[in-house]
Symmetry: C2
Subunit: 448 residues, 2 copies
């Protein structure tokens, strides 16, 4: 495919940039129309690439895009999953260039979604185009591209229940993850689940003057801080009752295999600009972020947050708190346990509301499977070195659901790198990874 990329490079950039220019931020209602625009543009690209049919499907939320090329009913069917929605871009001031006006600097494309997941989804569209136009396609190909991955895939989750036959497949192929390093390729063999909650602590019924009441009442911010602090103990373990009940401890052998992934603490810390790391006692950093659950506050707000100072005891304080789960933990069950626990630890002087924002289970992919082996061979050939099996700490909530609904395993061929800073300002994607990804996917078609 190398030659085909070389010949079509400029067109590829133009097409990808046309997707990146659409600010398809799924969680902000102001961008509702942009979501539709982005879905329509994908349909155009899929049709041009060679799909027999491609269309925007309405859902209960943002639309999904479905496309397919039927070749031979007896041949295996590959379902490509991707998402066209992106994360919010704040704080905008930290971006070196407009997040929705892509720019190539030092061999990387800079834009929101450059990697996650417009860039990685685009690789599949182009690998498919190459296979069709060069007459090499042997499989039936389907695409399902959703617009709510960054906010929990609620609409797709409902939609797949009524479109199981349409989506029927033998393997779910996904590029929405990272590899360990551009020189140490890896393939994900498991991902964590997620349980994302929002909490609200209400103290006095109105904001109070902190001089008149300070020292005598429960301040909801101080109280929220105390409650949050109590959620993780001195050993880095989550204190929510029953949280670890379904966590399966990995065997020493499995931990050893995963431990082969290269890791240099100094480089790791330098990469994110910190002087010390923390986490659950008894586990390495890679284990803490890969095979162990965790709890993080993703956002907190309350009281006066403008410039200057205001002497107020606010009525309310809020936080967004998410837990990463490991395979076998049930996101719904964890949401219930968290809600019960968080209400139980509140002092009588405050009211607590807990809302489940979204959740999804983790999953494992057997490295002995035909699909994993084909992917491993393809990636190995492109990178000149066999890929390492790794465990991703992130979550693609919908994949565990699709696995159950379609009776097909997901396969995670991710070409992102840590340096891409997805979800952060200045998200980027190396052009070299974009092209190597296309090549690897085309070879996967060959070996699968």
């Amino acid at each position: 495919m190398k030659q085909y990329i070389e010949q079509n490079k400029d067109r590829f950039f133009e097409e990808l940039f046309s997707l990146l220019r659409i600010p398809s931020i799924s969680s902000e209602s102001a961008h509702k129309e942009d979501m539709v625009r982005c879905a329509r543009r994908l349909v155009e690209l899929l049709k041009e690439a060679g799909a027999d049919r491609a269309a925007v499907y309405e859902t209960t939320g943002h639309p999904v895009v479905f496309a397919e090329k039927k070749l031979d009913p007896k041949a295996p069917t590959i379902l490509v999953y991707g998402h066209y929605d992106v994360m919010p871009v704040d704080p905008l001031s930290l971006w070196k260039s407009d997040p929705f006006e892509p720019e190539i600097r030092n061999g990387a494309i800079y834009a929101r979604g450059a990697n996650d997941d417009k860039g990685q989804t685009f690789m599949h569209i182009k690998a498919f185009e190459y296979m069709v136009r060069t007459g090499q396609l042997r499989h039936n190909i389907k695409f399902i591209l959703e617009g709510e991955e960054e906010m929990g895939s609620e609409a797709l989750s409902k939609w797949i229940k009524t479109h199981k036959r349409l989506l029927a497949c033998d393997i779910i192929l996904v590029s929405d993850t990272t590899m360990l390093h551009e020189k140490i390729p890896s393939i994900n063999c498991g991902m964590r689940g997620i349980c994302y909650m929002e909490v609200k602590v209400t103290g006095p019924s109105k904001d109070l003057h902190s001089g008149h009441y300070g020292g005598g009442v429960y301040n909801p911010i101080n109280t929220l801080c105390k409650m949050i602090d109590s959620l993780i103990d001195e050993e880095g373990r989550i204190t929510v009752k029953g949280f670890y009940d379904d966590v399966v401890e990995l065997s020493r052998k499995d931990r050893k295999l995963l431990g082969r992934a290269p890791y240099d603490a100094r480089k790791y810390m330098a990469g994110i600009g910190v002087k010390a790391l923390t986490g659950e006692k008894g586990y390495t950093t890679l284990e803490r972020v890969g095979i162990r659950p965790c709890l993080d506050v993703n956002g907190i707000w309350g009281g006066y947050i403008g410039e200057g100072s205001k002497t107020v005891i606010p009525s309310e304080a809020h936080a967004k708190i998410s837990m990463r789960l490991v395979p076998n933990q049930d996101a719904k069950k964890i949401a219930k346990l968290f809600t019960k626990h968080f209400k139980a630890i509140a002092p009588r002087g405050v009211k607590v509301e807990v809302e489940e924002k979204h959740g999804g289970d983790g999953f494992l992919i057997p490295i002995s499977s035909k699909a994993y082996k084909a992917a491993s061979r393809a990636v190995g050939e492109v990178y000149g070195v066999d890929p390492v099996p790794s465990r991703g700490g992130g979550s693609i909530a919908i994949l565990a659901e699709m696995q159950r609904a379609l009776h097909a395993d997901p396969l995670l061929m991710g070409f992102g790198l840590e340096r891409d800073f997805i979800h952060s300002p200045n998200e980027s994607y190396l052009v070299d990874q974009l092209f190597k990804g296309m090549e690897s996917i085309a070879l996967f078609y060959k070996y699968f």
Copy 2:
């Protein structure tokens, strides 16, 4: 003065409303011009009331208004202190009417500043006008009205140093506090000081994906919560090293005297809509908010605080933290102790910055003084019952400084009520209190 009020009521409302309509929010730079407008309007009102001179004076910050009427060099001089700046109005959605379009509902004026401190300052201008126009004035009168009380009085603090002669006086008369109840009048005989800090906790140098790093790094929000939680111990005492060193314990006799103030826990809790109270062990609620120091988080923010969910470990988390101090505690010293302590408790994985926003010492007013006795007699006559001496939990940072610079004691004749909800949405001021305040001040002139 009752009759004079009756005859001039409509004009009084018009004049006060003209002040309330100016959004003089000192801490928001967008309102810089409004500050000047408000100062100019005060000069007009003071001249109309009978001042020989009244002018806007430039300072290093928002302007101050000075006015005076010289009568007899041998007569005592009363300096009226007030402020024309107001608090921010967010959350705006909770206001029942426009904060800057005053409305009278159920006998109260609703507007930002209706009480704090435009309404209370206005009482002094009108009492002064009455004394002048009815030929009863026996004292020299000065007014100093500043525009930065709600943000720490930095500009006035510098200005008084170079204008000591202009401000020379025998007593500093202030209405910027509350009384216990409209039927239980009280006069403040002391106020708390304040030390207002802003802290910033920085973890990773960029926002990180919480799936890829969650469980392995110091999350600045979780860390900030832990640090804040540690600032108050299980007994409700502040853990900052050295914090209580200069706190003078009140005698049993003084605590008993203050304990005479009426207090009903059930009503107190119902008034602010809470089911339980908290605070320092060994003290009553009124002691906790009056004669004991305390620490409150006034604002907190970090990470994603928009709608929906974002799986981020933010780079930074922030909080505004203030401490109320009791007389004899030094605000500058406490700021240093806090800074040192807060940096000391930070784990190695984060960086901490601490900034002092503003501060001021508390002070006491002897109830045996001539001024206190005159005020007590005046208020007693208007309300038909002797006022209780009380201790205000709030802070007027600048008063302790003026006391030192001008060698004159402040006298706090406050006519606000708890129900006024200053600093909150729907701030109000009872018309009855506004008029009784004017009468009390006019009588104070008579008895002082």
